[in-house]
Amino acid sequence: MQPDSNMPIVLTNVSKSFGNLQVLKNVSFEVATGEVVALIGPSGAGKSTLLRCINHLEVISGGRVYVNGKLMGYSERNGVLYELSDKEASVQRRSTGMVFQSFNLFKHLTAIENIMSGPLYVLKRPKSEAKQSALKLLDKVGLREKARSYPSELSGGQQQRVAIARALAMDPKVLLLDEPTSALDPELSGEVIVTIRTLSEQGQTMLIATHEMAIAKEVVGRVIFMVEGEIIEDVPAKTFFSAPEHERSRQFIASHASV
């Protein structure tokens, strides 16, 4: 079965265990082109693991992950899954961009070098071309004057915006954001939220694991609520906040209401 390639992300019955601990239990959902989806839930619900399974940074224990209609991490022949080589998996991974809670900018490279690293080393683009598009991306996140700054010279919010630009430099079909504002104070997360909102308005497909109610309420169209590795609700954002179906969802919304 080859899923609709108009669905950038398709997960069917994905499960993941670390030893005896099952972190993801039969997770299935789809994300359509241009859709912005929030993945919310209490700590330990498996949100980060789920994102890392989508780009095959984590190897799943069961089920299938499709990105752009392609089975991630494996080739399937006669009903058997063969894990792809490091090189093949790396090529597949280019179609997803990832943004991390702790930014993870390359510490030894300047902001612009961080953004150029993918096009230069992975896509083997000429340096001048990589630089031109990196400058455009810096404009997009409003940090052109910081091009030559090292990560240690940037604030957390600036680092995260550079990290978003670095992910966008690979022109990914889908952007996976793992708690992009959790390490930032409210003022700095504000500037990151503005960047994410701009991207959503430009039609960038995004899956965002977040605790930030401002993102969940204002930026996304749909909410997937997870508890202990299972999807409890998968509904439009408005429905989730105005009329949550489950008691556990109501508790979660109430506990985050003041934030």
């Binding site: 890392r52 780009n55 940074l57 490091d86 090189k87 790396s90 090529v91 991974r93 280019r94 997803t96 961009g97 990832m98 991390f100 702790s102 993870n104 900018l105 390359f106 510490k107 030894h108 690293s117 993918g118 080393y121 992975v122 090292y150 990560p151 240690s152 990290a163 670095r166 992910a167 430099a169 690979m170």
Partner: protein, 284 residues
């Protein structure tokens, strides 16, 4: 008058006396006095003939020894770095066989004294394998066939002994550097589509360099001095030549002082090289 200007004028008027550390000053004076006494005692006893010291400082044989030592030590460091890098990558790899082979190498070559290893390569190895024979595979053509004693010269024996022993230390130094780069850097590099090799080359090693270089500089200095061990197999390095001269003229103190001087010069060179490399990996 505002508060701050009061504070400023007060500061100008008031004399401030910092704490006096009488104890440490007294101790410094005592140590200096002791050194001066030692120097005078040495001059009165004529422990070192300065003219002899200066004469041998620039002696042709001595300079050759210093040059040989620097050459051997530097080549051994390069060999150690190559072996260390490969075995460190083996050690951090997911493959259990590569990883344990690397651990065994480090245990063995770090555990056996360097002197024994030098003697092994020069004396024992040619007895174990008396001839070096290299033929074209699947043919009878013989490319090289010579006695091992001709192949393993004193220089090669010393290079193998020093380089492989040092490689074990270097392996641990490089592994420490790699492990010091946090997992988030690797995850981010993987996420933009780099292969494991690219992650290592572009992201991990450039950051590990900051930790590896100072430690490697230390090892370089230690290696330059360890070249004196090669004197036991007759390699013409500084100590061997120095001993040869003083066994004839009995100016032991002067000649050992000359040797010490050139080892200090080598150390200064190594230190300068280390600082140059450290600038390539600045703290960011």
């Amino acid at each position: 008058m505002s508060m701050s200007s009061i504070a400023l004028t007060d500061l100008k008027k008031t004399q401030i006396v910092p704490r006096r550390r009488w104890g440490s000053w007294f101790f410094s004076a005592a140590v200096l006095m002791f050194l001066v006494l030692l120097l005078f005692a040495g001059i009165r006893a004529k422990i070192l003939n300065v003219n002899i010291f200066l004469k041998y400082l620039t002696d042709g044989e001595i300079l050759l020894g210093a040059r040989n030592g620097l050459f051997l030590g530097t080549l051994a460091l390069l060999l150690a770095f190559g072996v260390g890098l490969i075995t460190a990558l083996m050690r951090v790899s997911a493959n259990p066989i590569l990883s344990s082979l690397s651990s065994i190498y480090v245990y063995f070559f770090r555990g056996v004294p360097m002197l024994i290893q030098i003697l092994f390569w020069y004396n024992a190895f040619p007895t174990m394998f008396p001839r070096l024979t290299l033929g074209m595979p699947f043919t009878d053509t013989v490319l090289i066939d010579m006695p091992m004693t001709t192949v393993v010269t004193a220089f090669l024996g010393a290079l193998m002994g020093l380089g492989l022993a040092e490689g074990a230390y270097m392996s641990e130094i490089i592994r420490t550097g790699i492990l010091a780069v946090d997992a988030g850097q690797r995850a981010a590099a993987r996420a933009i589509g780099m292969t494991q090799m690219q992650v290592m080359r572009r992201i991990v090693l450039p950051q590990a360099g900051r930790i590896i270089v100072p430690a490697a500089g230390n090892q370089y200095i230690s290696l330059l001095k360890s070249t004196s061990l090669a004197s036991v197999i007759g390699y013409l390095e500084l100590l061997r030549i120095t001993q040869g001269i003083y066994s004839v003229n009995f100016y032991v103190v002067e000649l050992l002082a000359v040797a010490a001087f050139w080892y200090l010069v080598m150390t200064a060179i190594a230190t300068a090289i280390q600082y140059t490399f450290e600038k390539l990996f600045p703290v960011r």
